[in-house]
Symmetry: D2
Subunit: 335 residues, 4 copies
């Protein structure tokens, strides 16, 4: 940690901070320039309260040198994490893992039709929402536990492990009973009680990046889960909010290689939510696989014009089949 | 609602959508230009699923004409909502209501010292956090119910109603027992189970705008609360996330007059979180009062260098007193 | 164009606007709902001044239905534009065109060393800056015409056509004499006098997207150039400004398929400026080729630690060679 | 300047950088922690090329400690700059200076009608555009020199000094002949040749913040002008581009106190462009004056429904008069 004093800071104020830091157990390496004064702190500053130091009116800035995430970071865990989901491996050099299915579970027939289709095109995991976060209270809110039961039925028939969203601590236990992978949605990325509950689960957690979360905040949310004991965390980039409105969000594809530098956790891409337009899902999927994402999660619906949610970004099964062919070619040259 | 067809849409596809809309109970007014075809829909389209219509590959865009919020909007509720909090009125033409206190409740002595100070400077409500949402799992997470008890003690001594944050549905009942105003934080603005629970409370809810929430999404979150029966909602602008990093967030001050046009609910400003810097709190408070905000919520700490959270943006009591003098002058000319 | 009236608009005001529009030569198709009134305009509204209509206090919104770009759009020009640069074809189904070279031309030796290297790895065009836009007046501003002469020398030796930036109308004629492709930088995307000058040139123009330009504004800047008579415009996505600061900008990779839907012009990617980090240049290049970009423009330097500009994002020749191998594999499966 | 090495950096690489920095004339103060190594540099690092240092793969980050602007910053120029414009003083503790007039000069009658109106309401300077930057090549582009002549006529009649935009170096000399204050628009904030030309002028320059410019970049553009010898620079905050689309831009009102801390230059606000809506111009003006802006620049038109540009954000003279009354009350309590 480096403390930068204001040019106007009196010597005695600098001395006070200097002494305080030594008292807190640091070594202090000062550098004095013509117009600035720096204190380089060596020692365990991870518990230091940056905001307290900044409250001193003579302090200009406090710069953290090391990353605040320890468990999610590569520094103490250089090897890639590989997670097993019912026999499918995700992370490291494993073949990208494809999760596909409808936005919402709507009925047994709908779910089974789609599950069979995506399985036959090569998807490994089945996604489907039973509890749905919706911007409007007047929109379809999901089938709840009934939806979970249908997912289980689809799993029994197809053998595909289930990915489904969990929205709060109250229904966590219920979702945990049915699902193989519990998804925490973008709007809940900093729902800290939910993150802590996920940390006490032994299921795999799929954590989506918040619409306006920095990469550092994203990794800190993974850290929350891991700090409670669950290290089976898959990260998911799904588009961030920017000024561009032609697409619903902006896929931050650079985040894939950046997160792979910073963290050992698997990182996948959700190309469906990234733009909200079905016509860009295949191109974005190809780009994501080419850049090295560990997997994709894709919305598929056999009748998007009748889907109870996200019809606009859902692929029909034939288009999903075409997408799988495209990415398989890229996977083959990466191998 | 207006449906814009793609220039390439075949006549028969247009006819199909036309018939489908009539079947759904709308009148349809078509406009045909040289290079486009519009369908103007008249009737109750509020339950229409825009995403289903967009799933049709011949549809270019769907434009919603009326706002999706009904209870929070001015259209059916033109009069300003005024909310009474222990005798203090907020909203409409009432004098701005000032809420002040520490970021976190830390101890009895700390809380009472600050509560007395802000009361004597003219604050009406006491703020203080017992449950704290923190970006890092390693930061101070608040005193929990112990903090709520201290807030109650401070209320008994000073007579100030309490504003405090509630983070999840599990602790909602506990917070409800102690607090007069329950704050839903920016990171929980789209925590829909929490919003629904707040809608079943009879306490006042202070809803903060999310870091990347549009004004429409902000009002839809108020709509969630109101749709469950609780219409005592106070909105709070607290800065949005932009590319500018010199300040922690960017206060969207234009949102005040815009929200006052769109909604009848009271809207206040949090100048402390808006920038994260104590030196800008007074200037932003003056601007907020001048523009017509219904109140302010401000972090005050007698020893910000020792505060367990947000020291950098907390005002010392003497600076808060100066701020109150400044805004009182502006209030006097507005009156 | 659709005019949405405010719910409170008096009948006579609606009538006035209605008549005004007919007077301006439109047909007007009104749709009246319970709480709104729409006027659908049919006819040539491209010269209509939206801002004048919005100045009427009874008008809520004006929605443009057709895109404002005519020459750059696909509607009247459905076929892909293919541009020939000294025998290299760019656009349509042609093999992606790779432009590479140093950020700045620094010396004959530097330029020739790099030019030979990138040519031998398979680059088709040589990039290099002689006039440099720099955030600080104290940074190296480029060699000027001297730099252009060195570029010409490199072209003579290697046969590679030259891409170089032009910063103002005053030096346009000079740059035009030497260069094959004139680049207009992101900060000049809405320098309208410069765009008009480019429109009167018969050289190819490489137009970079502004840091905060929407896709529509980007295409309107191409429209400026084309409206003066020059239709040889190549678009370049180079990252937009968002809240994320870990990377210098955020590559908006979705813009590639979106622009290919909206426009017939070739669109390439600049992965070097997108993040400002050399380690992400190869991954982003692979993603860009996989998604279908018509080309890449990449900064290469044999001694980035000594580069007078942009060393941090420059690749060494060996890394560029590796990148070319990676993208050639992807090109081969696309073919 | 502080250089942060990667945790994996070998000792000999650190040593090389250490020696290189000493060779460049710095003192180097190293701090070694368990997982990091810092080099604190003391001496004149203003000419150091950060990008070259970052090109070293063992360097993690380079942190600049002092601000890169010298002439525009407060460090070496602690006193507020006050600029005289035809007897009207702007900056420091002077009464805020109000500039008003039409977006575009359209005709003699239009300009004189508006000029008389704004003067009688108390505006000090007359604004009006003769050269107009327009997003579309098909929009009205301004009257050019003819417009400047009309401005001069209005000045002769009303005595009001003129503020008008200059768009390029070619017409700079012409605009300079007529105007008292030359405005550089948001889209030209990083048009470096134009900034340099402005720096060689002896007229006052009004520099608008770019839509996506950070405060530091904004001050660096002022630095460009000042580094060529012209220190008469007025800064203007006019809204930045964010995700919020309800308003055209987001006024960054916090930038006013922040810039007043960092720089000695006057800073004014343009409330008309900030949102693009006339109904928010008065509220934003009050907020801007309350927060301490040194002035305002406001668009006024007697017939906004017929304005050739920006009708939607123009105030009618009666509304401008009301605005002046509102802000005069706030000015009186500030005094």
């Amino acid at each position: 940690m480096v403390i930068v004093m204001k040019p106007s800071a009196p010597k005695e104020e600098i001395r006070k901070i200097h002494d305080k830091m030594i008292e807190l157990g640091c070594q202090v390496h000062p550098s004095e320039g013509d117009n600035y004064y720096l204190l380089g702190l060596v020692g365990d500053t991870s518990k230091f309260n940056q905001s307290q130091i900044l409250a001193n009116p003579h302090v200009d800035r406090v710069i953290r040198v090391t990353h605040p995430f320890k468990l999610a970071g590569r520094l103490f865990h250089p090897e890639d994490t590989v997670i097993d989901i019912g026999g499918h491996k995700i992370g490291g050099n494993n073949k990208p893992c494809i999760m596909a299915g409808p936005c919402s579970v709507e009925s047994e027939e709908q779910l089974l039709t789609i599950a069979r289709a995506v399985k036959s095109s090569g998807a490994q995991l089945l996604r489907g929402g039973a509890y749905k976060p919706r911007t409007s209270p007047y929109s379809f809110q999901g089938l709840g536990e009934e939806g979970l039961k249908l997912l289980l039925k689809a799993k029994e028939e197809t053998g595909m492990p289930i990915v489904t969203e969990v929205m709060d601590t109250e229904t966590f236990g219920t979702v945990e009973k049915y699902a193989d992978v519990l998804q925490i949605g973008a709007r809940n990325m900093q729902n800290f009680p939910l993150l802590k509950r996920a940390g006490r689960s032994n299921k795999v957690i799929l954590l989506k990046r918040g619409l306006s979360a920095t990469i550092e905040e994203f990794l800190m949310s993974a850290e929350y889960i891991m700090s409670e004991g669950n290290s089976k965390v898959i990260l998911c980039e799904r588009g961030i909010r920017t000024f561009e409105t032609y697409t619903r969000n902006t896929l931050d594809i650079s985040a894939i290689p950046v997160i792979q530098e910073l963290s050992h956790l698997p990182i996948i891409v959700d190309p469906s939510h990234a733009t909200g337009k079905w016509s860009t899902v295949e191109p974005l999927s190809k780009a994501s696989i080419a850049i090295g994402a560990h997997g994709l999660i894709i919305e598929v619906h056999h009748e998007p014009e009748c889907a109870l949610s996200d019809g606009a970004q859902s692929l029909k099964p034939a288009k999903f089949e075409k997408l799988m062919n495209s990415i398989n070619k890229i996977i083959s040259i990466n191998a």
